[in-house]
Every structure is written in C-alpha cells, then in structure tokens.
C-alpha cells in the first residue's frame, strides 16, 4: 500500500509513483484522477451571491438575471442571500419581485416542507424592517 494522504478529492497526489501512473489503469485507492480545478466552498458561493445582490446601483435586469440563475441551481438559497436580494428589491422599489422571490424559494424547497418556515424565521427581521408581507400573509399561497 502506498503511503498516501487520507483525503481524496482534488488535492494533489502525495506520492510520485501515483502521479506518473496514467489514468486508464487501476490506481491505488488514495490517489484518483480528479480535476485539479479548485472547488468553490459553500461559504464562497454564498458570499459571491450576497455580494452580487448587494451592489448599491443594481438594476432590474441584474436582479432578474441573478434570481433566475439562482433558482436554476440545485439548492435553496441561504437566508443571507435572500436577505441581500430582498434589499435589492427595496432599492429598486419592487415589492412584487420581493414577494415573488419568497414564493419561488418555497416552491424550490419541493417536498422539504421545513425549509421555508426556517427561511421566513431567519428573514423575519428583514421582512419587518422593509415591510414585506409573505405570500401567506396576503393569502396568495391559496388559490
């Protein structure tokens, strides 16, 4: 067994021997032929999106583009990203989009019914500060 790091993944191979082995053959468990691209951590992802929506002179198109892209990802955005997006709506004087964002994340949670109440709970201070009503408050979640 070659002495190799316990961590698999995008770290460089720790033994010279494993490095020279071409990837068609079976490699020892500890060294895999992963891409050497840096994987973005969750914190970096969140920070990037918070920064995106925090732009002071964000325009309506950027808000829409950002939101639609974010909803396209296979995740429910963190409260801090949504907080940043809601504040962007405020700067753009767009209450309808703020409510729409809340609807969209609820829909995005899918069968996991406990995500949306958590998000609302975390966003409560922002919602009160900006005066945003949730779709439930307005009765828009019913038909």
């Amino acid at each position: 067994m070659t002495h190799a790091s316990v961590f698999r993944g995008s770290h460089k191979c720790t033994t010279m021997r494993s490095n020279s082995r071409p990837c068609g053959q079976t490699t020892p468990l500890a060294s895999r032929c992963y891409s050497h691209a840096k994987v973005e951590t969750d914190e970096e992802f969140d920070a990037r999106w918070v920064t995106y929506f925090s732009k002071p002179d964000i325009d309506a198109w950027e808000l829409k583009k950002g939101m639609n892209t974010l909803i396209g990802y296979d995740l429910v955005p963190e409260p801090k990203i949504l907080d940043s997006a809601l504040r962007a709506c405020r700067r753009l004087n767009d209450l309808a989009s703020a409510i729409r964002i809340l609807e969209a994340v609820k829909d995005k949670s899918g069968p996991h019914k406990d995500i949306y109440p958590y998000l609302i709970q975390e966003l409560q201070p922002t919602l009160i500060e900006l005066g945003i009503s949730t779709p439930e408050d307005l009765g828009m979640d019913k038909l």
């Binding site: 808000l63 829409k64 939101m67 639609n68 909803i71 396209g72 405020r90 004087n93 767009d94 209450l95 309808a96 989009s97 409510i99 729409r100 964002i101 609807e103 969209a104 609820k106 829909d107 900006l130 005066g131 945003i132 009503s133 779709p135 408050d137 307005l138 828009m140 979640d141 019913k142 038909l143």
Partner: protein, 169 residues
C-alpha cells in the same frame, strides 16, 4: 437607440407593427414574438417584462406609493402591485388541471367501443366454431383421455376416481 426610443413612445407590448430603423438602409418590422415576452414558469420566477404594461392612473399612483415605505401599503395594495407585475401566483400556476378525468373517460369510451366491435364481429363475421366444441363431442373426448390414462400421476386422470367412475372430491 432609435428603435428603443420608438418602442418606448408607442408602448411596449402594444406594437404589433412598429418600425425600427436599421443603419439607414431600410426599415425592419419588429414582430411581437421577437420582443421579450411574459411567461409564468416555476424555474423563471422573475420574467423579462411586467405582466401589465399600460398602467391605469390608479396603478400609476400605486407605483409612486411603492417608492415610499412598504409598511404603509395595505394588503390589497400589495396584492395589486403583485398583479401588475405578475399574471399568476405560484399557487395558481402550479394548479393541476382536471384533464385526467377526460383521459380516463376517453379510455373507457374507446374500450367500450372496442367491446361493441368485438361483439358485432362474433355475431356477423366469424363462422360457427368447429364440431369439436359441442358438449357431446367433449364428453367422448374426456372419456377417451381417461381411457388413455392421460397424466395419471398428478394431472388429468389422477383426478378421476376409476373405481366409482366419478371425479375425485
């Protein structure tokens, strides 16, 4: 530049035929389908355009009020603002249809029609069945099979009681 100015003068969606000048070479008609469209989709929560493009005076004043604090807006006003920007809420767009009832009804209908066709065929298309299906023939056939001891261990003749000349109970 000229094109966008022309469009904003005429009104965004009201143009079915509007002219945009291209580089001084001629005019090109901007068709409806080429402009950004509104659509309600789960995966595209904020569409490219507002749903309502021509605002009434009331809606315009509401939009002005939106620039102030949102806490001062009543629920009805908030809903009105939502409806200006969007056609259907998520609940409405995700609503199922009653189409499945039509599908099941259609299925039963066609199965029924097929049944009628089959019955008609039996009566008017197919000739009589062979004589081997008559009960008299069948009796003789069964007796012959028993005489031949067909499947005497576990099958046919095994179920016949040869002593009492009847089927085993």
């Amino acid at each position: 530049m000229l094109a966008t100015r022309a469009i904003s003068l005429v009104g965004k969606r009201a143009i079915s035929t509007s002219i945009c000048v291209r580089g001084g070479h001629g005019v090109a008609k901007v068709d409806d389908y080429a402009l950004p469209a509104y659509f309600d989709r789960r995966e595209n929560p904020l569409p490219d355009v507002q749903f309502v493009t021509e605002l009434s005076a009331e809606q315009k004043s509401l939009k002005e009020k939106e620039k102030g604090s949102w806490a001062t807006l009543s629920n009805e006003e908030k809903i009105a603002l939502y409806r200006i920007s969007f056609k259907q809420s998520f609940a409405e767009m995700n609503e199922g249809t009653k189409e499945w009832k039509s599908v099941i009804a259609g299925m039963f209908f066609f199965i029924g029609m097929t049944g009628l066709v089959v019955l008609w065929q039996r009566k008017f298309v197919y000739g009589p069945v062979p004589p081997t299906f008559e009960s008299e023939w069948k009796e003789k056939e069964v007796q012959r099979m028993l005489d031949m001891r067909i499947n005497p261990v576990e099958g046919f003749s095994a179920k016949w009681d040869y002593e009492n000349k009847e089927w085993k109970k």
